[in-house]
């Protein structure tokens, strides 16, 4: 528990402005982008540099406090949800771009730097940072490391793990270690790779060195409407069979387009059953030749409209239509759950048909926005809390994730397991698998104080029904309060 002595020590370390103890302040940190799961932390601290982060973690160790590192709090799996009686270490004051090394095409960043800021800072040198989650304007590189975030362009360029060279990490006892190396190559086991995607359960990263790529010479994008989801899915298959590796292949269904168009006016056809956004990049000749092939494939599958934005500005508008889709769904439904799962690309049409059937059975609408190129689905389950549809929606969402596993895919493509899907982990991993993961975790964090309760199923967590915050009857009666 928090006592005055402890608060004093944090205040001495971080100054008065770096420690939040009042109820209202603490409650504003009770959830991240997944609001269904809430937990008020005991303390929120805002260190200003790596040294203060290490100091804060050491203090947590001294007092035996569990802690959660938090970036922009945009995660969709409850990974940054606070731990009961724990500390939230916000990295939002560590936003400096420490170095852009043009010659070696690297950037050294503090963890709170927004993903998009990296590319903005690199742009004058003809460079950019490739992984581009849809929330790239606000999600931070530290959060990207924790979740091994992807994005539309991961089909060709890979995930965060393919772009992070080196990290400075504070371990649970407050010690500071360096994982990886400036060239990205090192002997021995890849601890850097292990840390990326560990969702804050192994430590807090305080400095990240990423690879920068040269801005492609040429970029061509097409927005293609299709008469059915199947036709769009078959198009994706044929593109891959033609040995074309697009920078991105994204699919949206009509429900998702309706919402996004209302929010962005990106030029999506709202009554089209499906659309693909396909982008090619690279040397101009190659892009031109493949683009012709690509449009021919689209036409062969009955594309009803091919919109080819000419200017960069127009292209960005199309992408905005895609990237704003999650949040835009708020316009067509009071509540919704963003799901994240992966299926083998060849089973796209099958999984979509089954999701549609499951939605019908549950009496709920499901919108689909996803990275079609690598089979990463983002079904959005729409429901109304007020109409009492929450439990049905939560069940449908979980069933969809587990369906992905059944079809030979994964519980999560890029949003992480977090709090949301910890209880589904046994659907994908055996007890032995989970046991090994747990032992690895204990090697880094013997007391399980780094983001406990996330990623791995725990009896306490999974014994309770997962889902949206539900007040205890005594709370409703005003007898007790949960702060």
């Amino acid at each position: 528990m928090v006592d005055a002595q402890m608060v004093r020590e944090f205040t001495d370390l971080l100054s008065e402005n770096g420690v939040i103890t009042d109820e209202v302040g603490l409650r504003s940190y009770e959830c991240d982008g997944l609001t269904g799961f809430r937990q008020v932390p005991a303390l929120v601290v805002l260190p200003r540099d790596a040294e203060e982060v290490a100091g804060a973690v050491r203090l947590c160790a001294e007092y035996g406090m569990p802690f959660v590192a938090r970036g922009a709090g945009t995660g969709l799996s409850g990974g940054a949800m606070p731990v009961a009686d724990g500390v939230v270490i916000s990295l939002q004051k560590l936003r400096r771009i420490l170095e852009i090394d043009v010659e070696n095409r690297r950037a050294v960043l503090e963890p709170g730097v927004y993903n998009l800021e990296i590319s903005k800072a690199a742009a004058p040198h003809g460079l950019y940072y490739a992984p581009d989650p849809s929330s790239q304007q606000v999600c931070t590189i530290g959060g990207n490391v924790a979740e091994n975030s992807g994005g539309a362009h991961c089909l060709k360029y890979g995930f965060t793990t393919n772009h992070v060279l080196e990290m400075e990490v504070v371990l649970a006892d407050g010690s500071v270690v360096t994982l990886g190396g400036p060239t990205g190559e090192q002997a021995g086991p890849d601890l850097r790779g292990l840390f990326i995607g560990s969702e804050g359960t192994l430590g807090v990263c305080t400095k990240v060195t990423v690879r920068l790529l040269q801005t492609p010479q040429s970029v061509r994008t097409v927005l293609a409407d299709f008469p059915s989801i199947e036709a769009a899915g078959d198009t994706v298959g044929d593109i891959v069979d033609a040995a074309i590796i697009p920078a991105a292949v994204e699919m949206m269904d009509s429900l998702a387009m309706e919402a996004s168009e209302a929010a962005t006016g990106a030029g999506l056809t709202v009554d089209s059953p499906a659309a693909l956004i396909i982008e090619l990049d690279g040397p101009a000749d190659e892009v031109e030749a493949e683009f012709e092939q690509l449009t021919a494939i689209c036409e062969r599958h009955g594309a009803t409209r091919l919109h080819v934005p000419q200017e960069a500005e127009e292209r960005q508008k199309v992408w905005k239509g895609r990237k704003a889709a999650f949040a835009a769904v708020g316009r067509i439904s009071p509540d919704y759950i963003v799901q994240d799962g992966v299926v083998p690309r060849t089973r796209l049409a099958e999984v979509l048909t089954r999701i549609a059937d499951m939605g019908r059975d549950a009496g709920l609408r499901v919108a689909n926005v996803f990275h079609a190129g690598d089979g990463n689905l983002h079904p959005l389950v729409l429901y109304s809390e007020a109409a009492g549809e929450h439990d049905a929606a939560e069940k449908l969402s979980t069933d969809i994730a587990e369906l992905c596993v059944e079809l030979g895919g994964s519980l999560s493509g890029e949003h992480g397991i977090g709090t949301d899907k910890a209880c589904s982990m046994p659907a994908m991993f055996s007890e032995d698998d989970l046991g090994v993961m747990h032992r690895v975790r204990l090697a880094f964090d013997p007391d399980s104080r780094c983001n406990p309760g996330k990623l791995f199923p725990t009896p306490r967590l999974c014994g309770e029904r997962p889902g949206k915050y539900q007040p205890h009857p005594l709370e409703e009666a005003g007898v007790i309060e949960r702060l």
Binding site: V24, G33, S90, Q92, A263, A328, R331
Partner: protein
């Protein structure tokens, strides 16, 4: 009982609202009462549940919020503030205390409205929340006094003029040693220091000059007909401290074929009060202004002040409950145009020839123009129409300069950090001149640029181009 804890001088509008109050309201003064189903809010336009529900907590607003950019704290972000409103609405937290602190710290710049993909109307949420605070949260005596002083001075042109004599005298006699003295003023007087440092160079001749009530359109053999009748809002601070901007506006409108009517009896539009939560006061001012411009029988109402334009366009909502005024307010609001919108429309068929001005021009989006009125392309287009002008964009253009109405007087520390940040971004462009369409921004940025480059309203550049003269302050 009265709802407004108005004790200072100035008009007292409490009686009109007083009739509407319910006795329960006395119980919720800053407390977490759960009566009336609005939690800690009273039942007079509390933040609507459906507007709160629009927020899905995605966080896309965070990077453009000025206070979040400064501090990185959740409760000082749009998402966090909406979360607090939600808690207050449920009666879980009182208005007094932390809630008021975090809402007070909001600049009301509306950058979050631009950034939000879910279409959350934070502007409406904030405008519903601020009057609740003004009604129920007792302010400290010093705070109350300072706010009253602002609202007793700024919305009154005559009082501003009188004050400008003092200001001019003060600036003439102000010894250099004042800087040192001001630097040592105790913290609790920092607001007064902020106010002092914002005072622009006062030119008494400008302060007392008046715009002609009627200026006919310039007619020529090629364009014998006029485009119409435009009523000009001359503004308060604008007319006293930036009178040349009004003169330039009239000249450009007339040159482009408009008859310009500037009613002498017009008073403050109420924007300053509206944005600070003084709803009843703003409503009274709105009615007076509507009546004034109805008498003037104009086709369009022009303003060159972003903040005034934004609130005049909202008169319909402000007076929606008042059967006598609702329709008149909507009709008025529909006629309101920012000067850049009007000039932009004439670009298809311009009447006045533009002479070249060779200059690298940095354009700063005033929040109440860019975010609140979504007017971003028009000012850029009318500036680009001047031959020789090279327009440059500012980094972080979506982030407020810290002026935000009276914010830089009430929250000087945050405003100072934002002002310095904006000045650094402007310096980085290497521009010859900075233009922006709001007197508040001009005062604020001037303070941190410290005379490094000339600063103008866009209309002054257009006016100079039409007349073929060097723009003011540009030598």
């Amino acid at each position: 009982m009265t709802i407004h804890p108005t004790t200072g001088p100035g008009p007292d509008f409490s009686s009109e609202r007083g009739e509407k109050t319910s006795p329960e309201r006395a119980d919720v003064l800053g407390g977490a009462a759960t009566s009336l189903g609005h939690g800690s809010f009273d039942d007079h336009h509390p933040p609507a549940q459906e507007l709160l529900d629009d927020c899905v907590h995605c966080g896309f607003c965070l990077p453009t919020c000025p206070t979040y950019a400064l501090w990185g704290e959740e409760m000082d972000s749009p998402r966090g503030r909406i979360y607090l409103m939600e808690m207050a609405k449920k009666g879980e937290i009182p208005l007094q205390g932390a809630f008021t602190t975090h809402i007070d710290r909001c600049l009301g710049c509306m950058a979050c409205v631009t950034a939000c993909p879910s279409g959350v109307q934070y502007d409406r949420l904030l405008e519903a929340t601020r009057p609740q605070i003004e009604r129920h949260v007792p302010r400290t005596r010093a705070d109350r006094w300072f706010r009253e002083a602002i609202f007793t001075l700024f919305p009154y042109k005559r009082r501003l003029r009188a004050a400008s004599i003092g200001g001019a005298l003060y600036q003439k006699l102000r010894p250099k040693s004042m800087d040192k003295l001001m630097a040592r003023v105790p913290q609790r007087f920092e607001r007064l220091v902020a106010m002092e440092s914002l005072l622009p160079p006062v030119r008494l001749r400008d302060a007392f000059a008046r715009i002609a009530p009627r200026t006919p359109a310039v007619s020529s053999p090629t364009h014998p007909t006029r485009r119409g009748r435009v009523g000009l809002l001359t503004g308060c601070v604008q007319d006293v401290f930036f009178h040349p901007v009004n003169e330039a506006t009239v000249r450009v409108l007339a040159a482009e074929g408009w008859d310009v009517i500037a009613p002498r009896e017009q008073a403050c539009c109420g924007a300053l009060g509206l944005h600070a939560g003084r709803e009843a006061e703003a409503a009274e001012r709105a009615k007076k202004l509507i009546a004034t411009f109805e008498r003037a029988e104009v086709d369009t109402i022009a303003t060159n002040v972003a903040g005034c334009g934004s609130s005049m366009k909202e008169y319909g909502e402000l007076l929606a409950d008042d059967p006598e005024w609702a329709e008149r307010a909507s009709a008025f609001a529909a006629k309101v145009r920012d000067i850049s919108e009007i000039v932009d429309e004439t670009l298809a068929d311009p009447r006045a020839r533009r002479h070249p001005i060779e200059a690298k021009v940095a354009y700063h989006d005033a929040c109440h123009l860019g975010h609140a009125q979504k007017i971003r392309t028009e000012p850029r287009r009318v500036l680009r129409a001047i031959p020789g002008v090279e327009l440059t964009e500012l980094p972080e253009s979506e982030i407020c300069c810290g002026s935000a109405g009276i914010y830089n007087m009430l929250q000087p520390e945050a405003a100072g950090d934002l002002g310095r940040r904006k000045a650094d971004n402007i310096r980085g462009t290497g521009a010859d001149v900075l233009v922006t369409a709001n007197p508040g921004c001009l005062l604020q940025i001037r303070k941190y640029l410290d005379g490094e480059l000339p600063m103008l309203h866009p209309i002054q550049l257009i006016d100079a181009s039409i007349r073929g003269v060097r723009p003011p302050e540009m030598g």
